[in-house]
Structures are given as structure tokens and as C-alpha cells.
Symmetry: C2
Subunit: 159 residues, 2 copies
DNA sequence: GCTTGATAGTTTGATTTAAAACTATCAAGT
DNA sequence: ACTTGATAGTTTTAAATCAAACTATCAAGC
């Protein structure tokens, strides 16, 4: 275990390695899902799918809320929603109660897409976590959230 | 543990949640490091730093290898290296042994940057992993690599 | 009511990214 | 030598990204 033939890595080396592995996994997940979408000849990007995913769970939220959920800037969201409106997946509706808001609702097309796409997403994630226990995943999530807390503590500006 | 008052999440729900947390952490790491760079008035992006990081460990590799290490497309690397050459951090050298390759070497400036930047990177990662044991990190890396293996198995094209 | 600060969305500009089509080069088998 | 397939790099194009400056609206306190 501590044999001299094994190169010893420092904690920050390991942390950097974990960051890299994390990115590799995320790229691969995107790639796998995008491949599956393409195989079925659907004209939609991975990023749009991320937005749809949240709308399927809660329809009629505003752009800022979607931006928070997808961890993107609100200006990116203007661009994204524009694009999704063009492709008739969602529609913008003025909020009568607060006229600053534009509420985003799924169109029939957007609702219909769920039937096709949701199983594929689940399939990819299930494949990735094939031989995992629930508690493995919980452990991972917990570790990340701890790291996020540490970083936020020293950099409170970051929401 | 299995109380009816607790909402039960499926494995793929948890996997998706982990994906989100992962992205949040990555954004935050980038943000923290970029802030630190900016505080010290250095004109360099996080992405360039990632390239430098690998060159500091092994100088004189080709663009494709850097792309693999940083998990980016080779066309992104053309753009990136162009930019870094302009800022005199690296130089392109034709490989006499294989004329397809352009070997990337650090300039004096690029070497010098290590002294300043490396401690900051380590500092951010150390902060993030403050109260972690080495084995926590190893556990996380191991979990990611398993997931990557599963995905690659079913999608061998993805290098 | 009016001011002040916060919030939602947009626009603009610059950067980063990947996919696809392309050129050049190498390497292996015939 | 010659073909064939693989590999490295570039160019082009379309998406996606964020920061900063801007408009419109709300909400709280005076």
C-alpha cells in the first residue's frame, strides 16, 4: 500500500485529477446522449435537453429560474429560449402578476418530446451507474457539496 | 431510512443530480481560479492555464496530445495555441521525425508563469478539499472512472 | 406619491467550443 | 513503388458562453 515503488500523489494533485475525471465524465455523458438523439434523427442540442428536463418537472417557470437550474447565465438563457421558441418546443408568456417575468411553457411538441427523450437519458445514466449502489451516488454528491461549500465560504460572491 | 415521509429518488435521478452538482463544482473551481488570476493582474484565461499545466509536466508535446489531456477538440486547440503563441507563452516547432506534428514548447515566459500560478491552483484545490482524506478523493476518482468505463463500453467510438 | 435598490430580461461583443470538410503526412501491406 | 487507412493540423461554420451595459418593472421606506 505504501510501497516505495508507488508514486505518492499529494492531495491537490488528486483533486486536480478528480477535476479532470469529472470533466471527462461530463463530456462523455453529453456525447452519449447527443449520439442517441442523433441516431433517432431529432433536431435538438444537449443544452436544450437540459432546459427541457427542468420544464418537464415544473412547467411555466421564468428564465432566471431556468438559468439557475441549469447553471448558466441569464443572457445565455435569452439566446437559448429564443432558439427553442423558433423550434416550437416552448413558448414565452408574460406574467400578469409580475411583468418583469417571462414564463416559459412547453408547447405540445415540447411535451411530446418527453416521451421519446426521457427514457434515453435515463438509459444513459443507468448504464453509467450500472453496478453502483444508491449510497455510492449519495456519497459522491455529498463530497461535491462539501467542496462547493468550502469554495463559497472563501468566495461568497459566487452564486 | 425508508420512512414514508422521505421522497424516494431513483438511481438515475440521483445520477442526474450528481451530474448537476459536478457541473456546479467545476464552474466554481474555474471561477475561483480565474478570480485569483485576475486579482494578481495576469492576462491569461483558465483554459490556457489548463494547457500550461500539462506543459509544465511534459514540455514539447503535440497539439493532439494536449487536446486529449485537456479533453478538448483538436480544432479548439489550434485556436488556443494560436492565442498562446501571440501572448508569447508557447512556441510551435515542426517535428522533424513526423512532419504532421507541431510540437509545443514553453517559452521563457511560459516557464516563468509556473512559479506564480502553480501555488494558486494548489491553493484553490486545497481549500476545496480542506477536510478530506486522500481516500475520499480516491474513492471519487474511482467512481468516475467506473462510470467512464461503462459508457465507453457501449460507445467505443468515444476517445 | 417618490426615491432607491433589487430583479428580470435583452443586447452587444468577445471568447470558447465542437463538428465537418479539408490538406498533408505517415505507415502498413501488397 | 502504390494503394489504403490512419493521424495531425487547419479552416469554416454554428452554437454556446459570460460580462457589462442597458431597459423595464417591482417593492420598500420615506
Amino acid at each position: 500500500m505504501d510501497s516505495s515503488s508507488v508514486i505518492k500523489k499529494s492531495k491537490s494533485d488528486l483533486a486536480i485529477e478528480m477535476g479532470r475525471t469529472m470533466t471527462e465524465l461530463r463530456n462523455l455523458l453529453r456525447q452519449s446522449i447527443q449520439l442517441k438523439i442523433k441516431e433517432h434523427g431529432i433536431n435538438i442540442t444537449f443544452e436544450m435537453l437540459e432546459v427541457l428536463y427542468h420544464l418537464w418537472q415544473k412547467d411555466g417557470i421564468n428564465q432566471q429560474e431556468i438559468a439557475d437550474l441549469t447553471l448558466k447565465d441569464k443572457s445565455s438563457m435569452t439566446y437559448m429560449i429564443d432558439n427553442m421558441v423558433k423550434r416550437d418546443m416552448v413558448k414565452r408568456v408574460e406574467d400578469g402578476l409580475d411583468r418583469r417575468n417571462k414564463l416559459i411553457f412547453l408547447t405540445e411538441t415540447g411535451i411530446e418530446l418527453r416521451r421519446q427523450l426521457h427514457p434515453w437519458i435515463a438509459e444513459v445514466y443507468d448504464l453509467a451507474t450500472e453496478d453502483f449502489e444508491l449510497k455510492n451516488l449519495e456519497y459522491g454528491i455529498d463530497m461535491f457539496q462539501k467542496m462547493i461549500l468550502h469554495l463559497r465560504k472563501s468566495n461568497p460572491s459566487s452564486d
